[in-house]
Symmetry: D2
Subunit: 119 residues, 4 copies
């Protein structure tokens, strides 16, 4: 018989980590970018998500090669796509620190979110 | 010394649950709505998030009273805000089922995401 | 010497038409979809934008073939992309009716927004 | 009898101006911010929209007082709302230059988009 169990700091740390990646992805993908503006978008995404609860550290990298190859010939820009993002977030909830990542998985052809470590 | 530990189905279930709530929130808040269109937006949000991995069930309710009181006098519509949302999601990862919720916390004045149960 | 000129209903009609297409595009692209949920997303987008000022009529079509070919093999869904959208909006401002469209231009490889008519 | 008329550079300039404001609004509202991150978000929004076609100039200001008064007591951040934005965009299409703005109208309680000038 299933029964609800006590919810731990570890549970909450992982839940919060997921919230941040889902939020980041759906807030910022679709933003117009080119190679001259990618720095400012990286910084804004990183700073924006860093203000959310329990975020200890975050790094956001946008793949310049993918941006370059996606630039529209006529208009010279493209949109930020999920597969261009390499994001690492460290969440601290109570004493539990979890590290999660968003990275393009070329085999699955999918911008995969995954748990890297729980400490 | 901290050391990385084995990542369990429970960890992944909670991580995935967080991803869905973060995604839902930042994809759909800001959508124009009035009382005549709130049904279709509820259904679209619910169906949209239901196609993501590991979602077993989802219900999305938008608070009609908040919509009504937010309607602009001149233009007769408002935007979907996070505090209008009452969302319940059930995630199944391996054998672990977790239930999470997004609900406005009037004391914190915050659209709070929380873990309801782990089974 | 340049000089500011009187702003007409026609000017405002075209300005409002642009606002609606830009809003629609950046609000809803990125939404998770599959072939079973595309109907509800079409309807929600159409109804959502219809509540904005000066919208007389709107039709939203999502290209099923593009959705089908974009479905991820592992996870069975994809995201709504701008190039999947065929949108027609009719704006009425004062006595001026303008029709605008968003449609994928395969030659430009670009989801092109354009003015169809001014009446 | 209504009849379609020739579409001018002026028409296109105003249409393009609307697209940019609608896009900006629905792409970036909802972003988490506090007073320490508002600079980077202003810059990223401005640079992002500047890469779109026909944008000659853009300035984006986020109202610090509104951010301050919206900060959540418990969590110390808020979301970017449309009414916090003061945006000026100059569009050049052919020989026609139009200036448009997004600014909170406190009487209408509405983030109003309007045409400032056509030259």
């Amino acid at each position: 018989m299933s029964e609800s169990v006590v919810i731990t700091d570890r549970d909450n740390a992982l839940f919060e980590a997921g919230i941040k990646l889902g939020a980041l992805y759906h807030q910022f993908t679709g933003s117009p970018i080119n190679l001259g503006t990618v720095d400012s978008l990286e910084q804004a995404i990183s700073q924006s998500i860093s203000v959310q609860p329990f975020v200890e550290d975050i790094t956001v990298l946008i793949d310049r090669d993918m941006v370059r190859s996606n630039l529209n010939d006529e208009f010279g820009y493209c949109e930020l796509e999920g597969r261009m993002l390499d994001v690492r977030i460290c969440i601290l909830y109570g004493d539990v620190r979890v590290r999660v990542a968003l990275e393009y998985d070329s085999e699955l052809e999918y911008p995969l979110m995954r748990i890297e470590s729980v400490e």
